[in-house]
């Protein structure tokens, strides 16, 4: 509060007695500027007519300082002006007028507004800083995971290989078997670390600025890739025409490879995998729903929630190898594109995995 008349300052102070704020009083512009050096203000109440430095001059000076350039003002004055260009720097921050004599409630409302705005801004700044810190922590965590966890594994894997290569004759059959297990498991853990990193980096990935991609071409690529992953299985794929979608091609490639791969992996031992891929348009929600149906071992629907969780598995590693990242990655990718994932299944009959993607492409574009 800046006013050359102590009785005015006192009146303001009395008015604001119930406000949960700390008040600082100055009887001239210079004192006000000094105070602004040492304190952080949410709002300034300025009298306009003061000797030496008037309220406008003071406002100008405050606007020139970085610390106070967007400090809001309420000018309290007997004169009212319609012209907002009364002081330099008015455009940098909010200000308001109250003309004397004023209705106390009018001034109180204005003050409440500015205080509330200040508090919200402070909260926002705090939250942003917190978010920034958390992100930095996460980033340095994944960095040390990628670097520090891999180094000892390389030694385990490397020396067990060397032992097998160079000192095989000194080990009996059981010893060699143990060593093979150590070697294989170290490799598996390395894969796990890589997958986990991929998964955590998915959060930082931007999926905007994507192109319309042909799912028909993509699915054939993925089918061929999955066939190569399972030589000697010869799964049969039935693929219906699929729509074009706007998406990150590499990521959707991963979605299909994971889902088709699962359909082959979780096959029944005595049956050729038969996998049916199709899509339908959900007009109500303006989205496409893709489905991948298999005739595999299936799962009990009471575990359906667990299916898409990180490191969640419904089978032991002896039954089916895996690390529980694949479907979590599928869900994360689909969610990042604005879609959903779900599944239906019956044990020993087969499963159907679904995912949706927004249908943002106009009908005529789809015809082409």
């Amino acid at each position: 509060m800046v006013d050359d008349k102590p009785e005015n300052l006192l009146a303001l102070e009395r008015l604001l007695i119930d406000f949960p704020v700390i008040l600082y009083k100055a009887e001239n512009g210079n004192d006000a500027l000094k105070l602004s050096l040492h304190h952080e203000f949410a709002l300034a109440l300025l009298d306009i007519q003061m000797p030496e430095m008037d309220g406008y001059e003071l406002a100008e000076l405050l606007r020139q300082e970085v610390k106070t350039e967007d400090l809001p003002f309420i000018f309290i004055s007997a004169i009212y002006t319609e012209n907002i260009n009364v002081f330099q720097g008015y455009e940098k921050g909010a200000f308001s007028y109250v003309t004397k004599p004023f209705e106390p409630e009018v001034l109180l409302n204005k003050i409440r507004f500015f205080i509330k705005k200040y508090q919200q801004e402070q909260l926002l700044i705090e939250q942003q800083e917190q978010l920034k810190r958390t992100n930095e922590e996460l980033e340095s965590f994944s960095y040390s995971v990628s670097h520090d966890l891999r180094a000892p594994l390389r030694a385990v894997s490397g020396y067990s290989s060397l032992l097998l290569q160079n000192h095989k004759n000194q080990l009996d059959e059981e010893g060699q078997k143990f060593l093979n297990i150590i070697n294989k498991e170290a490799g598996r853990m390395g894969q796990l670390i890589d997958d986990l990193l991929d998964f955590s980096q998915m959060n930082r990935l931007k999926v905007n600025d994507t192109d319309a991609i042909s799912m028909d071409a993509l699915i054939l690529e993925c089918r061929d890739e999955v066939r190569k992953m399972y030589p000697g299985v010869s799964p049969r794929f039935f693929i219906n025409p699929l729509p074009k979608v706007k998406a990150n091609r590499a990521l959707l490639h991963q979605v299909f490879v994971n889902l088709l791969g699962n359909a082959v992996k979780y096959r029944k031992p005595d049956q050729v995998p038969v996998i049916k891929i199709e899509a339908r348009t959900d007009e109500v929600n303006q989205q496409y729903i893709f489905s991948i149906k298999d005739n595999g071992v299936g799962f009990d629907m009471k575990y359906a929630d667990k299916l898409f969780g990180v490191f969640q598995r419904l089978h032991s590693n002896e039954e089916f190898e895996g690390n529980g990242i694949g479907l979590a990655l599928v869900r994360r990718i689909v969610n990042r594109h604005g879609g959903e994932t779900w599944a239906e299944s019956e044990p020993r009959v087969g499963s159907t995995f679904y995912f949706s993607l927004p249908a943002v492409i106009k009908q005529q574009e789809l015809v082409n």
């Binding site: 390389r154 490397g158 060397l162 170290a186 390395g190």
Partner: protein
């Protein structure tokens, strides 16, 4: 300890260094490899200072294999120093690291790395990639000195 190393390996982790040397020797048993544990030692070797002061400075390695994450002076700082010094600025530097982080890859090239290799965990892949890169830099590549 050879005075005319063809490969300067800068690696703080001794088992990684040992495995790398074994992989290099496996393919090329006569290869001369100098192992240094940190950036300071690397610069001492390259500039024939400190414990390497008797080394003739004109013998430059055909390639420097540089780990990124090392105590005290990290790999990027070493790389910067190598590129800033007239005696060493043209020596090929291959970053050999566990880090698959984009920012590490980007800044390595920005500081003038010639190649960037992520060390595979899988031992066979690790042996293969080290053997492959040594045959490239020792036999195929022609250095500018």
């Amino acid at each position: 300890m050879s005075n005319h190393a063809e490969i300067l390996l800068c690696e703080d982790n001794s088992s990684d260094a040992d495995l790398t040397i074994r992989a290099l020797k496996g393919k090329n048993p006569s290869a001369n490899i100098q192992w240094v544990k940190n950036g300071e030692e690397a610069m001492d070797y390259l500039l024939a200072r400190g414990s390497f002061e008797k080394r003739p400075i004109e013998y430059k390695p055909k390639v420097i294999l540089l780990d990124l994450k090392m105590p005290k002076v990290d790999g990027l700082e070493v790389l910067k120093e190598i590129r800033n010094h007239p005696e060493t600025k043209t020596i090929p530097v291959v970053i050999l690291t566990s880090s698959n982080e984009k920012r590490d890859i980007k800044s390595s090239y920005e500081y003038g790395a010639n190649s960037y290799i992520v060390k595979p965990v899988d031992s066979q892949k690790f042996l293969d990639s080290v053997a492959e890169l040594s045959s490239y830099w020792l036999s195929l590549n022609k250095p500018g000195y």
